[in-house]
Every structure is written in structure tokens, then in C-alpha cells.
């Protein structure tokens, strides 16, 4: 058993693990990550999970995520857990949460929105809808998170 686990999720010495990514969303998470191409990245897809049934996972050696990266990942994978590894030990474990105010992370899909004609930062707020939506602070249109493009 432990042998199998070893193969599935190789341990890393230092770096970041993004666990409990909604199955199928790992590509979006990889899109968000600012990688210079030299990092060692391990990706697991459709792994079985107690919490989510199926999950994706990413491990990146020697990388700490920026605040922007963390907030953007929360948008595409709201159930994700961020684990910081130091010397093979878990140093910190945080559950991601979508911030109430989402600044400059989303491109407004409304072509008539001012954020698409002027050089200004987009601002979105979470709504109380179920499933959760985001509302553009400027044009006031509401969108599902799957309908919006995440800025890089």
C-alpha cells in the first residue's frame, strides 16, 4: 500500500503542494502558476479522495506561491489545500478560500464593460448565489466562475 502511494505522490523536499484540486481543474491551476520552466512539477489527475471522491494534485519543488497565484487558484479550485513543505515536513497547511473582493484577477467577459476599454484593474465581488458567482464592480454583470477568464 505504502509502495503504491509512493509512486502516486512522490514526496518533495522543499516546495508547495496544491492538494484537493477539483478533478479536471489542474490544467487551469497550471495555467495560473508562474513557472519559469526549470521547476520540477508533478501532476496527479483523478486520484481518489475521501473529501472529493476524485481530485487533482500538483507538487512543485522549490517554489512558494505569490498572493496573486493563491487567490487565482482559489477561484478555479475553491476546495484546494495549500501545503508548504520544508525538509520533507509539512510546514504549513491552508484551505483556500475565494476572497470576497477579487482584484485584477478576472477579465470581465462583457465586451461593453469599461474594464475592457480603459486600462484599469478589474474588480469583482462574490455573490451569495449557489453555485457561487462573481459580479463585476463596474458593469454589474454576474458570471459563474467557469464563465470568466482568469488573468495571468
Amino acid at each position: 500500500m505504502s509502495q503504491i502511494k509512493q509512486i502516486k505522490v512522490n514526496a518533495i523536499k522543499n516546495g508547495t503542494v496544491i492538494d484537493h484540486i477539483t478533478a479536471g481543474k489542474v490544467r487551469k491551476v497550471l495555467d495560473i502558476l508562474e513557472l519559469d520552466g526549470t521547476e520540477i512539477v508533478m501532476v496527479g489527475m483523478n486520484l481518489s479522495s475521501k473529501k472529493l471522491n476524485r481530485k487533482d494534485i500538483v507538487k512543485i519543488e522549490n517554489k512558494e506561491l505569490s498572493r496573486n497565484e493563491v487567490n487565482s487558484i482559489a477561484l478555479v479550485a475553491p476546495n484546494a489545500t495549500l501545503i508548504i513543505i520544508k525538509d520533507f515536513e509539512v510546514e504549513k497547511k491552508v484551505s483556500l478560500e475565494i476572497p470576497e473582493n477579487i482584484e485584477n484577477l478576472i477579465v470581465c467577459p462583457n465586451p461593453k464593460c469599461i474594464t475592457n476599454s480603459e486600462d484599469i484593474k478589474s474588480k469583482f465581488r462574490l455573490t451569495k448565489d449557489e453555485p457561487v458567482k462573481v459580479r463585476c464592480f463596474y458593469c454589474e454583470k454576474k458570471y459563474l466562475i467557469d464563465e470568466v477568464k482568469i488573468k495571468k
Binding site: N110, C113, I114, E118, D119, C139, E140, K141, K142
Partner: protein, 300 residues
Amino acid sequence: MKNLISMRDLSKEEILHLMDVTGKIEEGKIVPDMQRKLAALLFFEPSTRTMFSFDTAMKRMNGDTIIMSGTGQTSVKKGESFADTLQTIAQYSDIIIMRSPVEGAARYASEVVDIPVVNAGDGANQHPTQALLDLYSIVKTQGTLENLSIGLAGDLRFGRTVHSLAQAMALFNVKFKFISPSFLKMPQYIKDDLKSQKIEFEEYENIEDNIDDLDVLYVTRIQKERFADPEDYEKLKGSYILERPMLSNVKENLKVMHPLPRVDEIHTDVDNTEFAYYFPQAKNGVFTRQAIISILLGEV
């Protein structure tokens, strides 16, 4: 209240306060003095009626206006940034009143300048002074905003005015009848909002059979261009034209409203009935805008 950008920003209390101030201005109990106050009317999209209404409101209070109208004469085309244009105008004036086809333009303006900004329409998004003058017309004719039965007729799909009115009236336990051709029905997101606020509404496809229990009938224009086939328009339009004989069994207190301009959706034979209220409604727009400007400039 520092700016008026969206009905979404206003609480029920703020709306009622605004109604109260508007009433007092109309009755002459409050006489705001805007002498030496200058309003900049920036109309990046033409709308003569709304512009005249604001211009009149300001001048009725002894204030003055500077007007930038159309996109032709603005420096926007010369490559000056929108923010710079706004900042410059803000050096000259005490309040900016702005209409733009760009959605969110007024919100952005309010972040750029430190004088008050009034949204006079931003694309399909908001037109809060229209919603407020509609509310004022309703409270003035019905004595209350609570527990009324309101019919909204015409193009409910694309009509920004009816969307704002529906959302604003939802604060007051209203009962709606939505009357429109099936492909111009009230959008689902508005109906969802109303459901979550437990507001009752029913949907119908002709005016004639559905107005007898209404307190207010709000008619909007159905544009011919919305129809793919002009023949469909000709077939349908009769169901959405209000004519005098249809008013024989309506409630005594019924008022027929319309944001104007009217084309043919209300027959002129309705004009001299006691139900017609669209011209006084336009006049109410001036009082409402006087109240908004006065409140934002701290004069009341």
C-alpha cells in the same frame, strides 16, 4: 450619499428620503439654491431628453451647466485618456452628470474625481435617475410604494428602465404582472432575484385582458428592429398598444406611465383620460433630479 451610480447602492431608507426631498422641492417647501454652482453634463452618447431634464433641474435652482455632447467634440478621440478628461472637467465644475454607452463608466468616473458623479445611463446597465423618477411618480399618485399591483408591458427583455424599476420596487412588497411577447420576456436573472426576495409575479402576452386590477401600468416601446420578420411585428403589435376602450374597467387610481419617447404603443386617445400620467411623469423627472443634485451637493 456621495455619488449616484446604481440603484443597487441605495437602501430603502435612502430611497424614501429622496422621495421626501423630491416632494418638498415640488411643493416649494425646500428651495435649493445652486447659484454659482456648475454642473458638467457629459453625454458621450446622445440623449436629448435626459440632458434637457438635468439642464432644466439645474437652471430651476439658479445653477448653471456646461455641456459636452456626442463623442465628436471630446478629446477622447484625440487620445487623451478618459481619466484625464474627467480630471480636467472636475477642475471646472461642482458635479459631473454623465451618460455613456460604456458600462461602468460612471462608476469609474466616481473613482477618478473627487466631486460627486451622477450616472445618467451607462449602456444597458443602470439609469438610476429614471428609476427614481418612476418611483416618485408612483408614490405621488398612489400615496405609497407598498403593496401595489404593477404591470410592466412591452419590451421587458432589453428594456433597462423596466429592469431597474422591477429591482427597485422589489424593496416594497410589490405584485407584478409582466406583459410582453414571449421572446421579449423579463430576463431570467431578474426573475430569479425577485423569487429570492419572495416577490410575486405573473407573465402574460396581451395588455387588454390583464390591466383591470393594476394600480400602475408602465408601458415601454417594442422596437420593430427586435423582430426578425417584420410581419411578426405587424401581427403582434396590436396586443401591446394601449387604447382608450381597454380602460373601461380599470381601477380608478390606475396611472399609465411611460419613460418617453412614445411611438404608437399608447394611442393618443388615452392622453386626455385621468389615467394618462406620462407627461407629468417627465415633469417629476426634473424635481427628482433637483433633489438628487441638492443632496449630493449638500444643499439639503
